[in-house]
């Protein structure tokens, strides 16, 4: 495979709400929630932010980081479960706002939390086939957790964009492997404000089956072992699941540490493991090997194997790192949070 990551960029809104603040409202014990989920706080969008504004900021960071000419972008895809319009693509607004229009193809993706990685695979195909020079794959979400539901503690906001191409790569994509079945572990019907989920059903039959199958499938395809990798990122709906998946597969806690942003950020859904990958790329060195497996409810997993090039040092400082984006958060209370997330019906 001669394709890879040309650049990457992330965006995280400034506001945060702590688990204790949410627990207080519902009379829950914050310590058991923190222990159970391994999440302390999550990001909250500003009143005038949504999936599109987040996707634009992430895409602009990716383009600026490597000094990309937006007119060379041949495809742009935004994956999300919170597209602002049910019909009218987020990606046309993003394409216009990064100056990539009019000579490109655009569409929106949805596959719960793995919409972004599916977009990466699509861009890989178009680039490999010589149909486009550069493709942009974005995973962005302003996730909704129903008030009082377990997901409310982790449903966060954020987005990440990857520019895929053949030249000037910061990381080669050596291979990708996917595992998909029809498993209804989590969904949201048209017009409903919050998703439904299967509780414990989302674990074994959902997350773990698909993540481990895709991961093992890729390792077998490539003939590699977990110890061949410097870093690993798994989809992070909370801190527990990826830690357990890593252990099940034979990866250790040091490998997953830089990418495990969920504890301080929450689950950015379509941006989730893409954010973990960005945080890892922020500190990786030339020659480092990275393993990533996403998960989207419904269900499916996309697994990737990357090798970092020396170009990463050249362009790394061209846009803010994930750590920089997470710094100086503004903490808010539940009432302000409810206002920001439009939970108060006017």
């Amino acid at each position: 495979m001669s394709v890879g990551i040309v650049s990457y960029g992330a965006y995280i809104p400034r506001y945060r709400i702590r688990v204790e603040e949410i627990a207080k409202v519902w009379g829950a014990n914050p310590n058991s929630i923190i222990d159970g989920l391994m999440v302390y706080e999550k990001s909250v969008p500003d009143l005038d932010e949504d999936t599109i504004t987040i996707a634009v900021e992430a895409a602009r960071h990716a383009i600026n980081r490597a000094g990309i000419d937006p007119q060379e972008i041949g495809a742009l895809y935004t994956g999300s479960e919170s597209h602002p319009y049910a019909v009218k693509p987020s990606s046309t607004v993003v394409a216009e706002a990064v100056g990539a229009t009019p000579n490109l193809t655009v569409a929106d993706f949805e596959f719960a939390c793995k919409a972004g990685t599916a977009a990466i695979q699509t861009c890989m195909g178009l680039v490999e086939a010589g149909m486009i020079k550069l493709g942009v794959a974005i995973g962005a979400d302003v996730a909704q957790g129903a008030p009082g539901d377990a997901l409310e503690y982790t449903a966060a906001a954020g987005g990440v964009a990857y520019v895929i191409g053949k030249n000037n790569l910061v990381a080669n994509i050596e291979s990708t492997y996917s595992f998909t079945t029809d498993t209804p572990d989590f969904w949201r019907r048209e017009g409903m404000p919050y998703p439904e989920h299967g509780g414990r059903f989302t674990g074994e039959p959902g997350y773990f089956k698909h993540v481990t199958s895709a991961a093992q499938g890729l390792l077998k395809k490539m003939g590699t072992k977990p110890s061949d990798y410097n870093y690993a990122i798994f989809h992070q709906p909370n801190g527990k699941f990826p830690t357990r998946a890593a252990k099940m597969l034979g990866f250790n806690s040091e490998q997953i540490k830089p990418g495990l942003v969920v504890t301080r950020l929450g689950n950015t859904y379509s941006g989730s493991c893409m954010m973990g990958l960005a945080a890892t790329l922020d500190i990786a060195k030339a020659g480092d090997r990275i393993f990533m497996t996403s998960f989207g409810s419904g269900a499916g997993s996309d697994s990737f194997s990357f090798t970092v090039t020396d170009r990463i040092e050249e362009i790394r400082n061209g846009a803010p790192s994930v750590e920089k984006l997470m710094a100086n958060p503004i903490y808010i209370d539940y009432a302000t949070y409810a206002r920001h997330k439009n939970k108060i019906k006017l």
């Binding site: 009143l47 005038d48 932010e49 599109i52």
Partner: protein, 131 residues
């Protein structure tokens, strides 16, 4: 604002694209095809501003405009772009932070929506440079 009216200007408002008069060198944002100095003798071409500027004056609006009642209180400001022209926009920062002379940079935000069923307007607001 009606859909065609917003659409006509959305490239300008998403990407801070104004005009530049090649005759007198004026940078114009909002864009104008007729240079106010040269009038018919001017020659204007599109120009993309970098998005950096400073706050000339500001206010904190408590009684919002029609599409902005959910956002109050918000900071409305006149910003002078590096290249010269001044524009009206909002600044997103802590209300205790805003001051005349503050350096700001462009950010992509939602401007509002026509209604729950209607179009969503996006555009450029500003955030402090230190962000």
């Amino acid at each position: 604002m009606s859909v065609p009216r917003f659409w006509r200007r959305l490239k300008n408002i998403y990407n801070l694209i104004g005009t530049h008069c090649n005759k007198c060198g004026s940078y114009l944002y909002p864009p104008r095809n007729m240079c106010p100095k040269c009038r018919r003798n001017g020659m204007t071409t599109p120009f993309k501003f970098k998005g950096f500027g400073e706050v000339v004056t500001y206010t904190i609006v408590h009684t919002g405009a029609k599409d902005y009642t959910k956002l109050t209180p918000y900071i409305l400001a006149i910003i002078k772009l590096e290249e010269g022209p001044r524009l009206t926009s909002q600044v997103i920062c802590d209300h205790s932070q805003i001051r005349i002379g503050m350096k700001v940079k462009a950010a992509f935000r939602k401007l509002g929506e026509e209604s729950e069923k209607g179009m969503i307007y996006y555009g450029t607001k500003f955030v402090p440079m230190e962000d």
